[in-house]
């Protein structure tokens, strides 16, 4: 049993009257791509501050790469690569100057780290003399990632690396992370985007400072306590309205074109539901009704956990 690269045990942190972290515990195995998933205010950034030794927990303990976050801060700080939540590079220095600076602060050079950052760097290399402030959002994120990697860290910590960046850049970024993961580098990445969470090896769902669940993305869906259905129909507003009003409804949330509907009756089957809805909703004026059984996704489970944290199987 190899030692975990990160081990967090019952960490709590308060700021005044706000509880940022509430008895958070989890472990990250070597070579894992671990996702921390949750909205703003979930405590993701505070958790990263604890792991990067920037803040000390009020209670509990944590170790990173075998070092204690309170006692051995310098050992951790020289070994991790960190990408903080906002753009944290020097806008008036060029791409190359930023990279060179962070390399030299860690006692190395761009050349030494080039092998590791090459797949990412080649995308921004044409702009190496451009001032970092003049880059587009997606380019900035890639530069920040290079700066975090150039010193060949043993662990990569990314706090919401794709916030505010468009869908294409987000995809590209996560493809780069997948490549890094192939090399065996453990990565902890926080994201509010549930679709990105699906690309991780394991994820921790967080809300209001608490960890709601930890599991593989595919397995998270199995935590959904009832059968889940995707319902389509026109007009959309009316469909949602009627489903909400349906007497056996347990949950009904819009998901793009469809509505994810779960029934309180635990053994409900799709054919039966389809019949019922055709009758009830049809008379209300809903047409083109389509009902399908689907697997629950991360977002479904997240919302379920938000509403009833303890009702979900651990």
């Amino acid at each position: 049993m190899t030692a975990p690269v990160v081990s967090v045990r019952g960490v709590s942190k308060r700021f005044g009257s706000t509880t940022a972290l509430d008895a958070v515990s989890f472990e990250v195995a070597p070579g894992e791509l671990f996702g921390i998933v949750g909205p703003d205010g979930a405590g993701k950034t505070t958790l990263f501050h604890v792991l990067t030794t920037l803040r000390v927990p009020d209670s509990g303990s944590a170790s990173v790469l075998g070092f204690d976050v309170v006692r051995d801060l310098w050992s951790i700080r020289s070994r991790v690569g960190y990408m903080p939540g906002r753009f944290a590079l020097y806008a008036d220095l060029s791409v190359e100057e930023n990279l060179g600076f962070f390399a030299s602060v860690f006692g190395t050079t761009i050349a030494d780290g080039l092998e590791l950052i090459q797949p990412i760097y080649q995308q921004i290399e044409p702009f190496r003399d451009r001032k970092a402030g003049a880059l587009s959002g997606g380019m900035k994120q890639k530069l920040a990632l290079c700066c975090a990697l150039v010193h060949r860290p043993e662990l990569l910590l990314l706090d919401e690396p794709t916030t505010g960046v468009d869908a294409v850049s987000r995809r590209e970024f996560w493809e780069l992370l997948a490549t890094l993961r192939e090399s065996g580098l453990p990565i902890i990445a926080a994201t509010p985007y549930m679709d990105e969470a699906a690309r991780c090896d394991r994820i921790a769902l967080m809300q209001d400072g608490r960890v709601l669940a930890i599991d593989e993305p595919a397995a998270v869906g199995t935590r959904f306590p009832r059968p889940l259905f995707a319902v389509r129909g026109k007009p959309r507003a009316l469909l949602l309205d009627r489903l909400r009003a349906y007497p056996h409804m347990a949950s009904a949330y819009p998901f793009g074109e469809t509505v994810h509907f779960s029934d309180r009756r635990a053994d409900m089957r799709v054919e039966q539901l389809r019949q019922e809805l055709l009758v009830t909703l049809g008379t209300d004026g809903v047409s083109d009704l389509l009902v399908e059984r689907i697997e629950a996704g991360i977002e479904d489970v997240f919302m379920e956990l938000m509403a009833a944290p303890t009702a979900v199987a651990a």
Binding site: R55, R77, V105, E115, E154, S183
Partner: protein, 380 residues
């Protein structure tokens, strides 16, 4: 791809510091606007003030009050008229208007001759001459009085009279420039002001900006120690401060003939010491404030303002109310101005200036300790 990092030794402190300083110098040089202001503003101030306050050259307006004008009084007037330093105003015979004329700033010096001067002279007595000058002007007032007195004495001698008592009566007069500092006294104060601006103000802002941007967070999660971050930020500004001092001194020398009677090395060393005090203050301010704006306001209020108002730059310390004089002891610029004036104008050396230098060194020690204590390697 190789996953295990190649075994590397921890980066040497100096190399890391050097890398950090290199970045800081880049920031400094790229911020052209601020750089230009910091380098040119002091020169502009010097030139403006210097040319506006050249009281030494202006001709002194002298009024001779002679109740009984005769050949002897004319002789006195002629002496003033031909002395080259004085501008002789039309003589009056009555002393009544003197007060008004002086208060209105139309007369700098008045020479009042007693009635019966001629008869006093003929009888071998001592003529009484009253010299009235603006005494609130410590420099030019003295100069004027000395010149006027010299002319009067010469005149008395030529009359064959024994050197008479020349009574000098100082009068107060409001002038637009209440301090009546000459350029010589202004330059040390200007240097103190520039140094404070470049050291305390700019360092505080630079550190606060790093925190506000979020790059500070990133810098902490690296082998960089807080002392390296501070030293790396502080040294480029020390260099800039020294560059400023040298430019101002050169300009003052070349344009206004401001003297350097003492050791230039001692002056620059004192300037360095004073700069370090300012830098320590800047670091302390940045450590206790949470935004650039707060840092700037704290630096302006806590360093620039006292340095301008309480250091003797504009208002002489001796003429401040007693409580302010006490507070003035805590203002570093007060001591530096004393040192700089001593070196430049009086040629004082270490033997005379060690007290204020020791005080500055003590201030540095205290501030440095506080600054280091307050700078944490963590966020909170």
């Amino acid at each position: 791809m190789n996953t295990t990092p190649t075994h590397r030794t921890a980066p040497s402190s100096w190399r890391t510091l050097g890398a950090f300083m290199g970045k800081e110098v880049r920031h400094l040089l790229r911020d052209r606007q601020t750089l230009l202001i910091l380098l040119l503003l002091p020169l502009a101030q010097l030139l403006l003030f210097g040319f506006a306050v050249r009281t030494d050259i202006r001709a002194v307006r002298v009024l001779v009050v002679a109740p009984e004008p005769d050949a002897t009084t004319s002789a006195l007037q002629d002496r003033f008229a031909h002395s080259g330093r004085f501008e002789l105003l039309p003589t009056t015979s009555s002393i009544d208007s003197l007060d008004v004329l002086m208060r209105r700033g139309m007369v700098d010096v008045a020479v009042v001759l007693e009635p019966g001067l001629a008869s006093a002279l003929r009888s071998g007595g001592t003529p009484q001459v009253l010299v009235v000058a603006d005494g609130s002007d410590p420099n030019t007032g003295t100069t004027m009085r000395t010149y006027a007195t010299a002319v009067v004495r010469d005149w008395q001698q030529s009359l064959g009279a024994a050197p008479a008592s020349v009574r000098i009566e100082p009068r107060l007069r409001m002038r637009f420039n209440p301090t009546l500092e000459s350029v010589n006294l202004f330059v040390p104060g200007l240097i103190a002001l520039i140094l404070t601006m470049v050291t305390s103000l700019m360092t505080a802002i630079s550190l606060a900006r790093e925190k506000e941007r979020g790059t500070f967070e990133l810098l902490l999660v690296s082998p960089l120690r807080p002392w390296q971050i501070i030293v790396g930020k502080v040294l480029p500004y020390l260099g800039l401060a020294m560059a400023n001092v040298i430019t101002v001194l050169l300009a003052a020398r070349m344009v206004f003939d401001v003297p350097m009677r003492g050791s230039a090395v001692l002056l620059l060393s004192s300037a360095t010491l004073f700069s370090l005090v300012g830098l320590a203050l800047g670091v302390l301010i940045a450590a206790v404030t949470s935004s650039q704006l707060a840092a700037m306001l704290a630096a302006l209020g806590g360093t620039m303002l006292p340095n301008v108002m309480l250091s003797g730059l504009i208002f002489p310390v001796a003429s401040m109310p007693a409580p302010m004089q006490v507070v003035s002891h805590l203002v570093p610029a007060r001591w530096f101005i004393e040192i700089a004036r001593g070196i430049m104008l009086k040629g004082s050396g270490l033997e005379l200036l060690w007290p204020p230098l020791t005080i500055l060194a003590a201030m540095l020690l205290v501030l440095l300790t506080l600054a280091i204590r307050r700078t944490s390697p963590r966020l909170a």
